[in-house]
């Protein structure tokens, strides 16, 4: 009798150990976390239970048998609960489903974390790396401000000769305003008989080390990068398709399209030599929506390689009212020169909107630019100054009558810790006015 029990115990021990070893192999070898959990929960508990029973039988005392039975019972009771909780947590945390899963039966039932964090959805968007220096003149921190440079005004006035639009570049990055931007670019090219180039594919950041990764972070980061590239290309393909359709409807335009994928600074170099760059509003470095200060248009305006036309909506034609926003930044002194040089909207009447004219140089820049525009035969009015502590809805309501705005930058915010600006005149203007020129 005792021998038979011992043989049974030995069999249970070896069998249980074999099943546990197989479960361990399954945990290592199966393809997705859910299958691995399945191996750990079922085979693991079966093997461990057999092994515990074998141990209890081998001792043969009632106490040992009772302890091992209690352990088995406890395992059998708790393992389903534990693996259920683990599986649910893994699903919610966004663990990937393996290729063997036919369908995601829980989609829409449980809130699942998206691992493909597209840049617009992250809680704290990573600010785009800026290839060009920041313009600090409108900063709220007095130590960061630089006064306007009178020599800059002189330089601007000398260079104010209208240039014929010969080459227009339309950026095809996708986004809600892309169709409007494409149509506006085609209309401009038709009016000026200019060559139109559609450039698709936004900047692609170089693969670089982005800081310490979390658990499994390198894998996911690679996956995310490939997903965001894929979306960028989808956006670019849709925009290119629309561009082809729109240009084939207007055969008198000399239009061509190209697709480039490179770092932002390489793309910025491609833009040189164009007389005007047309961009959709709200398009970030990867073609996704983003803050005004991270937009491609913003970066290009800082680069000053070519005047940038940011299109949010199509303006009525011809453009009749243009507003010039003059802050205390140096670049605001050259807005009128840039407008004249771009040759856009020759019939429009121009309103100059000084911002905080108690600051050094603002009044002088506004008057100098009014004089320059009058010398070029434009109708100019200088509006009363806007205080920096303005209310955004008031200013927006006042700006709604304008078809176009000329700005030095899209946003004067610094972002991050130092951001102490409540309302940004440039942001409100760029939002309220259909078309923004950044000369």
């Amino acid at each position: 009798m005792r021998a038979a029990v011992e043989m049974l115990a030995a069999l249970l021990l070896v069998g249980g150990a074999g099943i546990v070893a197989l479960a361990a192999l399954g945990v290592a070898r199966l393809t997705d976390p859910f299958m691995r959990m399945h191996a750990a929960a079922k085979a693991g508990v079966a093997g461990a239970g057999l092994l515990l029973l074998g141990a209890g039988l081998a001792f043969g005392t009632p106490g040992a048998l009772l302890t091992s039975l209690a352990a088995v019972g406890f395992l059998v009771l708790t393992a389903p609960l534990a693996s259920h909780a683990l599986g649910r947590a893994a699903y919610v945390a966004g663990a990937p489903l393996g290729a063997a899963s036919l369908a995601d039966a829980l989609s829409g039932v449980l809130h699942r974390k998206v691992f493909d964090i597209d840049p617009a959805r992250t809680a704290r968007p990573r600010p785009a790396r800026e290839p060009f220096a920041k313009d600090n003149a409108m900063s709220a921190i007095p130590e960061f401000r630089r006064p306007a440079d009178p020599a800059f005004l002189q330089r601007g006035q000398q260079a104010a000769e209208p240039v014929a639009l010969r080459r227009i570049l339309c950026c095809l990055v996708g986004g809600p305003a892309q169709a409007e931007a494409t149509e506006e670019a085609i209309a401009l090219a038709r009016d000026a008989c200019a060559q139109l180039v559609g450039l698709s594919g936004a900047g692609q950041s170089s693969p670089e080390w982005r800081g310490p990764y979390g658990i499994g972070g390198a894998f996911w980061s690679e996956w995310l990068a490939s997903r965001s590239r894929a979306r960028m290309r989808e956006n670019a393909a849709a925009a290119l398709h629309h561009f082809h359709e729109a240009t084939s409807a207007a055969p008198q335009i000399d239009a061509q399209a190209r697709h480039e994928e490179a770092e932002p600074r390489v793309l910025a170099r491609l833009l040189a030599g164009h007389d005007l760059v047309v961009l959709p509003a709200g398009a970030g470095p990867h073609g996704f929506a983003c803050d005004p200060r991270d937009e491609i248009a913003s970066g290009l305006a800082r680069a000053r390689v070519a005047p940038v036309l940011r299109v949010a909506r199509r303006p009525r034609r011809p453009v009749r009212d243009v507003v010039l926003v003059v802050g205390s930044s140096e670049a605001c002194g050259a807005l009128a020169a840039g407008l004249v040089r771009s040759g856009l909207w020759p019939q429009a009447s121009i309103a100059i909107q000084p911002v905080a004219d108690d600051r050094h140089g603002v009044r002088a820049m506004a008057d100098a630019q009014a004089g320059l525009l009058r010398a070029h035969g434009r109708r100019v009015t200088v509006l009363p100054s806007v205080d920096l502590d303005f209310e955004a809805p008031d200013l927006r309501a006042r700006l709604l009558r304008y078809d176009a705005a000329v700005l030095s930058c899209l946003s004067t915010r610094h972002g991050g810790f130092m951001d102490s600006i409540r309302n940004c005149v440039h942001e409100v203007t760029a939002e309220a006015v259909p078309v923004t020129l950044l000369p």
Partner: protein
């Protein structure tokens, strides 16, 4: 009276369980997701239960069976705590409003 089978069987079983630790440890180190690591930790707990039972046999001392029971208890609690942690962490980031 005794067949002498038990120590042999316990030795074989211990070798098998010890071999089983290697792939689980590899999975624990490799990941790739945190769910994988938690599952591997859970499995290591099960292997610990088995090892405690086998140690009880090899040392021929039933007190180690109580250790097996204790590890099973703690392993369950650990798995549930990890699951709660993963779930709460992911829900907290998912519900944070995008700017």
């Amino acid at each position: 009276m005794t067949t002498g089978l038990i120590p042999i069987a316990a030795g074989i079983a211990a070798a098998l369980v010890a071999l089983g630790c290697i792939p689980v440890a590899a999975r624990l180190l490799a990941g790739p997701s945190s769910a994988d690591r938690v599952i591997a930790t859970d499995m290591l707990g099960l292997l610990g239960v088995c090892i405690a039972a086998l140690v009880a046999l090899i040392a021929w001392h039933p007190a180690f069976l109580d250790i097996a029971l204790g590890i099973a208890l703690v392993g369950f609690l650990g798995a549930v705590a990890f699951a709660r942690l993963m779930e709460r962490a992911s829900v907290a980031t998912a519900q944070e409003p995008a700017e």
